[in-house]
Structure formats: C-alpha cells, structure tokens
C-alpha cells in the first residue's frame, strides 16, 4: 500500500479533531504519514498522531513557515510529494486547508477535489454538493490525487502508529514570502468546540431577536457541550459574530445533532446544515420550511421551549 500524506491542522500545538479523522481515513487508503508545518511540535501532538495511526511524522518546524499565510504548507507538501511519491494527499476542508490544497495542485500539476465526505480505497471521492441535495462521485485523473475532506466525515478510530519523526527543511520560494502575517486577533470566546468540527451545533436565527437573546442559545449549547451557530439574519443584524454563520456563505456543518431555533430554513441556510445526522427544530411558525428537515420539531416560542430543554438536560445528566 502506498503512503498517504495528511496535513496536520493544529491550534497552539494541539492537534485538531479533523486531523484524527483524516488519519483514520488515510489508514483505509494506505500508510498514513502526518505532515506538521510550523513551530510548536510537541510530545502531546506526537502522541495524538501516533494514537490515530501515523507511521511517520514529517516535521517542518522553521518559524518562517508560520510567518506567511498558506503558501508554506503547499510548498512543504509539494516537496514531500516529489520526494516520496505518495498515493494521495489529504487536507482538511477548512479555508486554509482548501487554499493550501489549491496551491499544491498548481505546484505539482495534479487534480484536486474539495469537500469530500468520503474517499474509497480506489480513490473515488464522494462529494455532497448543492447544499446536500446531490451526491457526486469524482476522481482525480491526472497527477497525485489531492482531497480536501470535510470535518465530521469519518469517525476517528484509534490505530497504533509509530509516529517516527522525520525533520524536513525547505527553502521557501520568494513568492511565498510576499505576504506576511503580522498579527492575530482573537475575537471570539473560547471554551466551546469549533463550529465546523463540533458533534453538536445549536443555532439561533432572527427569532432570537437580540444579542442578549443568544444567551438562551449558548446555555443550551453548553448543556450539550456543543458549538453555537447562527443564521445570516442573526449575524447581519450584529447579534452574533460572523464567524458563526451557517449556510451558503458561512460555514458548512455536518454534526451528529443540529438544533435550529427561530430559523425559517431558507435554501441558503439549509445549504450549510442539511447533511446533519439528526435535526431538531424549534419555531413558532408551523409552516416554516425548516420543519421539512426535522427529525423532531416543536412548534412554539423558543424562549419557553429552549430554557426548559436546557434545564431538563441539566437534570438528566446530573
């Protein structure tokens, strides 16, 4: 079986869940190797990569690699593709991941498939397109196949890997150095799982009515250890930060459980959450189209139903 490269996503040295999913997927395609780009590789990170099956970890640690956006990741991967001739490259379908995959595709002149939800051992990808209404099977026909894979597509399964460290040093191209990251501003509160990765997402829409109203949504999310999402009506009104928008022009989420509160279910919102495994709806209008997606729905005022639900969860999980 061939080697499969997995680009590691990390925050402050901690490996993100999506990377453990990609390693699990890579195990089914060949022999997984993790690729770490930037400073901060730690024994904790190594332990996680080993736990999910990485046989080798290529570590490119130069601080310079984190000083420029996106391009360094593509250049480290391109170097490894030419050295190792892997069977495939897997990257998370995040903004950075997709852009790195795109630049890599140009560099190594290979096809790229984005937003795969599955990849078969024959390297045929499944894409869920048009907001989940159509399922497409596609393949790369030229070069080393590059896939970006949506978070929450493969349940991570532990599988012992040796995680043998192999240090990589490359010289960045002049083009990669042309843009520099000079600062990072954290605008959102931590403590909750990341929206795109979360197993449970609790969202609020125009029906939430105000920024203060979102306290009700946050309390429910916290009772389930979930992430908070919002419709565009809520983010446009400034009630909740734009980062949390779910839909066509926001994040695409595919959690185990999605709870939509005070959201009507416009086609552009559905495009971002339609593939959630279980969907719960709370809306006071029985005609709201979001009910078409509901596994369980309650027609009622969210300010009565949601706090009661939060309280009930508290009681039952105590």
């Amino acid at each position: 079986m061939g080697e499969v490269l997995v680009l590691v996503e990390q925050a402050d040295g901690v490996v993100k869940k999506v990377t453990t999913e990609l390693l699990t997927l890579a195990c089914s395609l060949g022999e997984p190797s993790a690729v770490w780009v930037g400073p901060g590789y730690s024994t904790a990170a190594e332990a996680t990569l080993a736990e999910f099956g990485a046989a080798v970890v290529y570590v490119a640690e130069s601080p310079e690699l984190a000083a420029h956006p996106v391009a360094p990741k593509a250049e480290v991967l391109a170097h490894l593709v030419s050295e190792k001739s892997p069977a495939a490259v897997l990257v998370a379908s995040t903004a950075d991941g997709k852009e790195a995959a795109g630049r890599l595709a140009v560099r190594i002149d290979s096809g790229v498939i984005t937003d795969a939800v599955a990849v078969s051992p024959e390297l045929v990808a499944t894409q869920s397109v048009f907001g989940g209404s159509t399922v497409v099977h596609s393949r790369v026909t030229s070069g080393t196949p590059i896939f970006t894979v949506r978070p929450n597509s493969t349940p991570p399964v532990a599988s012992n890997g040796a995680a043998v460290r192999s240090d990589i040093s490359i010289t960045l191209s002049d083009a990669a150095r042309k843009a520099s990251v000079t600062g990072s501003t954290v605008a959102v509160k931590g403590g909750r799982p990341e929206l795109a990765e979360a197993a449970i997402v609790v969202s609020g829409g125009r029906g939430v009515g105000s920024p203060e109203g979102f306290a009700v949504i946050e309390a429910l999310a916290d009772s389930l250890h979930g992430a908070v999402g919002a419709s565009r009506a809520a983010t446009d009104a400034g009630w909740y930060p734009h980062q949390y928008q779910v839909g066509q022009t926001g994040k695409t989420v595919s959690p185990q459980l999605y709870i939509a509160n005070g959201i009507s279910g416009a086609i552009q919102h559905r495009a971002g959450m339609q593939t959630s495994k279980t969907i719960i709806v709370v809306n006071k209008d029985a005609e709201a189209p979001i009910f078409e997606l509901a596994d369980y729905g309650v027609v009622g005022d969210l300010f009565a139903v949601v706090p009661q639900l939060t309280q009930e969860i508290g009681k039952r999980s105590a």
């Binding site: 595709a105 096809g111 984005t114 209404s133 083009a175 501003t185 729905g297």
Partner: protein
C-alpha cells in the same frame, strides 16, 4: 492604479441546482444566471478603492455567452471595462483549468490588484484565488474582511475561525473578500445606461493564447464518475408546544442517546 475583478456567473441561489445527465456539468439552463454574490462585494471593494486611490477597474469573467450579463451588471455598478473569455472549448473546465485560463488573461496586463470573491455559491471550492496567486507568483491576501492601501503597502484582516489575522504585502496582490467587507451598491439608471457604452473585450481560447490541451472537460485534472439526487429525508415528528415542548425534545434526545 489598475484593478481587475474576477466575477463568475452562477445559478440564482434561490433555485434548485442540478447537474446535467449527459456530461455531469452544472445545468446552467435550469436556473437564471446571476453574479456570484460574493463577487458583488469584490466589485464594490474595487470601486471604493478606485474612488479613494484613483483606479481603472476591469471586470474579467470566463463563461458562456450569457455570462456577459454579469460583466454588464458590474459595469453598471461603475466598473470601466470588461474582458470576457468565451469559447465552447472551455466547457467543463475544472479548478486547475479555470485558474490557468484566468491567470493567463490577467498576466502581463499590469494589474496592481486582482480581486476575487472568496467562494462561488455553486461549486463552493474557495481555491481559485489562491491558485491564481500561485500561478502568477504574486502575494495572496485572501478572505479579507478589511483592506487598507497606503502607497504600495496593502494590509488586510484575514478572517479565521477565531477572529482575524493581519496580513501585509506590497502591490501587486491577489485579494479575495468576504461579505463583511462592504455593502454592494445597486446599479443606478444612469449607471445602466452608461454601461452599454463601456468596452468589453471578447476573447476565444486562441485569442487568449491558451493551450487547448489544458482547458475544457477532456483536459481537466479531475472528473465526475457518477452522481445522484440525495434520497429525500423521511418525515420526522412535529408537535405543538403545550408547556412541555422542552421536556419532549429532551425525551427524544434521551432516546437517541444524546443525553
């Protein structure tokens, strides 16, 4: 300053989108074509930067005949000129082919800024701006929620999952924008009339000097194997709140082992 804005015509987002059964490409006849929503923000940003710094704004699109409507719309918003790459040989191009074609047209025309939307609403790949930057070897400043230009220095706020990064480069740059950046203007009647007289250059694959073997469906680096409509979801249970709606959802969640 010379600014180019790349815009894509996409099916109206309110319509159901479909793939064609004959060649698995997007069925563009099934719905009205509109300018990709985020590209309106890209045009608006170009116009605002042009108003502040003085610039000529050129709209660039690759697409069938009727994608010309999208150029006209941008011209009626206030852009100065258009370039339309239109050729049957381009049909079915994937992202590599599209970025190759766009980079080839943009190259050598002296653009200081090339502005994109950060994502199309039909294929939603979010890769074309980065690919064009890679091909042209110019700085990539993408997912911008704010852009500032001082002399030849460009600074953006790049949206991240937790907030934003500040990213800097010198002209020329490739920019892509998110919808938080501005509020696109509507074309005025005067703008619509003026747009009719603005120049639009139409290019074929040969005119643009493109290698026929690197564009279109047969030349693409990826291919659709098959596709199918997703089976409709089985209808769920909907109840009316009678004071116990929250408890009922909790019962359902307990049954599904979420609690």
């Amino acid at each position: 300053m010379k600014i180019a804005v790349c815009v894509k015509q996409v099916p109206d987002t309110w319509a159901e989108k479909k793939l064609r059964s004959d060649d698995s490409t997007l069925d563009r006849e099934a719905a009205d074509g509109v300018m990709n929503e985020l590209d309106e923000y890209a045009v608006e940003e170009a116009l605002q930067l042009g108003e502040a710094h003085g610039a000529e704004v050129t709209i660039v699109t690759m697409g069938p005949e009727r994608a010309g409507e999208t150029i006209r719309k941008a011209l009626s918003m206030g852009a100065d000129a258009g370039i339309h790459l239109v050729d049957d040989g381009l049909h079915g191009s994937d992202a590599l082919a599209t970025s190759y074609a766009l980079a080839t047209i943009l190259n050598g025309r002296g653009f200081d800024l090339i502005i994109f939307g950060s994502e199309s609403t039909d294929a939603r790949m979010s890769v074309v701006p980065a690919m064009v930057a890679e091909r042209l070897g110019v700085a990539q400043l993408t997912f911008a929620q704010k852009v500032e230009i001082a002399g030849s220095d460009v600074t953006i706020e790049r949206v991240t999952d937790s907030g934003y990064d500040t990213v800097k480069a010198s002209l020329p740059v490739v920019l892509s924008v998110v919808e938080k950046i501005n509020e696109p203007r509507y074309p005025s009647f005067k703008g619509i009339m003026a747009a009719k007289k603005k120049p639009v250059e139409t290019l074929t694959v040969a005119d643009a000097g493109l290698d026929m073997a690197r564009v279109g469906a047969s030349a693409s680096w990826s291919a659709v194997v098959d596709f199918a409509a997703r089976p409709p979801k089985a209808a769920g249970t909907v109840v009316t709140d009678e004071g116990d709606g929250g408890v009922k959802i909790a019962d359902f969640l307990t049954g599904q082992k979420f609690i």
